[in-house]
């Protein structure tokens, strides 16, 4: 018979035996990003809309939204059946219009370079967060894709160009005379020290107020042009039991975008940019004032009771069904209305966010050539397709954004796109958006997002929040 004491020791030994196994399990959890990451490797994109005329030698008959392959060749983008090898295209475009646009671009490339094997490496989830996590790991391991989706602005310039991860493509664009079509301020968002590092694929506007025309007409309201008017309109809607503004609080960046628009209106575009670059201190009165305005909106219940559980599209859905009067979002919200209401252009109105007329908050996806890419020639061919007028129009008709080039044919644009394209080319100032990489480095954008959302959860002390943001700016913006 074994004594009780040794039995205890046996049990302790069991505990020790179990421990390493469990810690190995637990260790996995912190070592790898757990959300399922779907990396779809497709040898050739599914043949979608574009119609391949014949399998003959000339691909000139293939038509895309922005023109034909012959139009592409007229722009100087020549196909080459001799081009071979692979081309890996990395993005987080996996669904909806953006996936359609991507497929069109890749099909266009395929029509010109039929013997290149296409690898469509798309990582879904988290508004690009999952894709960025995968991309950064690959970059650290010196295994970049041939080209990848990155927001123009500091996300590209500080995140990838400054550490020497990108090759300049100035020569490529200049040789094909393609640099001239892009507005200079936009090219600046993808350039550093006089060299261009990426081709902007599209432009989304970040400061748009969408409103339900019927709700506004029923209550005799007009779209607000200042934040004071906004408060008046909001009070009127709230009195009728309508949520004044749908806010996608679950997408934390939606709240930050709203804050940005208030700050833009109250501080102006120059101060906004200067703050985002750390040249103006966040203890500036304009910041506390914008925070106070935002806090007032929260405490007055303008966002409704359940906004912290809503995504941006659910918030747009509130406007769609008249539960909410307005929403302030990037103009991808137009795509949402378009997809859910055939008469969207009649039923919904849009204006720049209050007080930001003449300011265009740019959100742009861009593509460049990573240093160490395995198939740089194929990447350059693709970038030429992307930079061409045909490529720009084709992609953006699908994606719902406007082309980054302002010298393109706008006849096929819908009424919103025409409006946005006009505002873009006439804008007095282009600014960036922190949550979308175009205003500031990601580390500070995250810290700002944290601070804004913390403040919205408990909007008591705007000055303290501003001081907190300044301490992050001092730490993270150099």
């Amino acid at each position: 018979m074994v004594s009780i004491k040794s039995r205890a020791a046996w049990i302790a030994a069991l505990g020790i035996a179990v421990l390493p196994v469990l810690s190995a399990c637990g260790g996995d959890a912190t070592a790898t990003p757990p959300p399922p990451v779907a990396t779809n490797t497709t040898a050739a994109p599914a043949a979608g809309e574009p119609t391949q005329a014949t399998g003959g030698g000339s691909a000139g008959g293939t038509t895309f939204g922005g023109g034909t392959v012959a139009d592409l060749e007229a722009e100087g983008v020549k196909g080459d059946p001799a081009a071979s090898g692979k081309f890996e295209f990395f993005s987080w475009w996996t669904a909806g219009g953006e996936a359609d646009g991507k497929n069109d671009l890749l099909n266009m490339y395929k029509a010109l370079f039929p013997n290149v094997e296409l690898i469509d490496a798309a990582v879904a989830g988290g508004g690009g967060d999952q894709a960025k996590a995968v991309l950064k790991t690959r970059m650290q391991g010196n295994d970049p894709p041939d080209t990848f989706q990155v927001h123009g602005g500091p996300e590209l310039l500080e995140g990838f160009v400054a550490p020497g991860r990108m090759e300049p493509i100035t020569g490529l664009l200049k040789d094909m005379k393609m640099d001239v079509g892009f507005p200079k301020q936009l090219l600046d968002m993808v350039s550093k020290d006089g060299e261009i590092y990426a081709v902007p694929a599209n432009v989304h506007r970040g400061n748009v107020l969408f409103y339900n025309r019927k709700v506004f007409a029923d209550n005799g309201l007009k779209a607000p042009t200042t934040w004071d008017e906004f408060a008046t309109v909001a009070d009127a809607l709230k009195a009728k039991g309508i949520t004044p503004i749908g806010v996608g609080g679950k997408d934390t960046w939606a709240v930050t975008m709203l804050f940005e628009d208030i700050l833009l209106a109250q501080g102006g575009a120059d101060k906004f940019t200067s703050l985002m670059q750390g040249k103006t201190e966040w203890t500036d009165p304009a910041v506390a004032s914008a925070l106070t305005t935002l806090g007032t909106f929260v405490t007055k219940g303008y966002f409704g009771t359940d906004f912290s559980g809503l995504t941006w599209d659910a918030a747009a859905g509130q406007v769609l069904n008249g539960k909410a009067g307005m929403t302030i979002m990037g103009d991808w919200a137009k795509g949402y209305f378009q997809a859910n209401d055939p008469k969207w252009a009649d039923n919904f109105g849009w204006e720049p966010s209050p007080g930001t007329t003449g300011i265009f908050k740019v959100i742009t996806d861009s593509f460049g050539l990573p240093k160490g890419a395995k198939n740089p020639e194929n990447t350059k061919h693709f970038l030429a397709v992307l930079a061409s007028k045909v490529g720009q129009v084709t992609f953006n008709l699908r994606k719902g954004s406007i082309p980054a080039r302002t010298d393109v044919d706008t006849s096929k644009f819908d009424v919103y796109m025409k409006d946005a394209a006009k505002d873009f080319s006439e804008a007095k100032s282009l600014v960036g958006s922190a949550p979308h990489g175009s205003a500031t480095v990601e580390a500070f954008a995250s810290a700002l997002n944290t601070a804004i959302n913390t403040f919205v959860a408990n909007p008591a002390d705007a000055a303290a929040a501003a001081t907190d943001i300044q301490s992050k700016a001092a730490d993270l913006l150099k």
């Binding site: 205890a8 196994v21 959890a29 500080e158 990838f160 934390t252 580390a443």
Partner: protein, 319 residues
């Protein structure tokens, strides 16, 4: 978790055969290495080397990274096969910045509350279930498996299901209840495990002890309180350690359920979630490494005294 603790009475005599012979030879005076011993050492060598390199080597690398200014995707300096963090030595700068960071302090508070509630609930409920099953109830095997089954699920699955449940109840959209919701999900998952451990321990207690206590006039409650609980103390400790290090490192469950509740003032945010964000979103690799070191220290505080005491207990048992 592949290891399944089968709640059965340990076959007592063979249990000793594990560690004992090794210790017996270790106590002996130095002799020329026998063939057996050489084989054993050769068999162990690869795993020892692998663990030194891939566990302790990487911990050391990470510790160094946490003391640098490494941020962004700069090329990492390479010496031989090893690449080093691309940053300068900055001492404990990352640590002091973290402890001045409201969000990180909130994370530590959340994690502390979570750990405390999780440990207490798992132990109490697990013990209750184990005692219940120890009464030789009808359908014991069925109940045992029902209670144990949640453990077989991934935290991601648990998190998703409980997210749906609590969304309907509006618990995870309320900053006062969000953390409680996460704790309930975690307890639901791990209680079966503590139950299994406790049941195994209870079954290991010889019936003659209970009989003796009964003969001495002890009540059933008294038997559990004064005879059985003291006997299974070591296994309660083991369970606490295992659960404690899981809860200190909790990530997947919370990430899936609430994402840290950023809209509720980070009501359920955990150090591991912040760590993930700093590394893979914000490129602040050094600061992220610092969080992992802080977590390592917390886990070490829990585990090292335990390892030490069980090591001592083992030594005493062999004397």
């Amino acid at each position: 978790m592949s290891n399944v603790v089968t709640p059965q009475a340990p076959s007592v005599p063979s249990a000793r055969t594990g560690p004992a012979p090794i210790a017996a030879t270790a106590r002996g005076e130095r002799k020329p290495i026998s063939r057996d011993r050489l084989t054993a050492m050769l068999m162990l060598l690869p795993s020892v080397v692998a663990i030194l390199l891939f566990v302790y080597g990487f911990i050391a690398w990470n510790a160094w990274a946490s003391l640098t200014s490494w941020r962004g995707l700069g090329f990492m300096p390479q010496f031989g096969p090893i690449r080093f963090p691309a940053g300068d030595f900055v001492g404990f700068d990352n640590y002091s910045k973290l402890f001045a960071d409201q969000r990180f302090v909130k994370d530590l508070t959340n994690n502390g509350l979570f750990t405390l509630a999780f440990l207490v609930a798992c132990t109490v409920i697990g013990l209750g279930l184990a005692i219940f099953l120890d009464q030789h109830v009808k359908g014991e095997v069925f109940f045992r498996n029902v209670f144990l089954f949640p453990m077989a699920l991934s935290f991601v699955v648990t998190g998703t299901i409980w997210r749906w449940i609590f969304l309907d109840l509006k618990w995870i959209t309320d900053k006062n209840t969000a953390l409680i919701a996460v704790i309930i999900a975690a307890v639901w998952q791990m209680t079966g495990f503590t139950m299994a451990m406790f049941l195994a321990a209870l079954r290991g207690i010889p019936d003659d002890l209970r009989e003796a206590a009964r003969v001495d006039g002890a009540t059933e409650v008294g038997i559990y309180r004064h005879v059985i609980l003291p006997l299974i103390n070591p296994i309660i400790l083991s369970a606490l350690i295992i659960l404690g290090h899981i809860s200190l490192k909790i990530f997947d469950l919370v990430y899936v359920m609430t994402g840290g509740s950023p809209t509720l003032g980070y009501a359920t945010d955990m150090p591991s979630i912040y760590m993930f964000q700093l590394a893979f979103k914000d490129d602040l690799f050094a600061r992220s490494a610092a969080i992992s070191m802080i977590m390592l220290v917390f886990v070490a505080i829990v585990i090292i005294p335990y390892l030490w005491s069980s090591y001592r207990a083992e030594k005493e048992a062999q004397v």
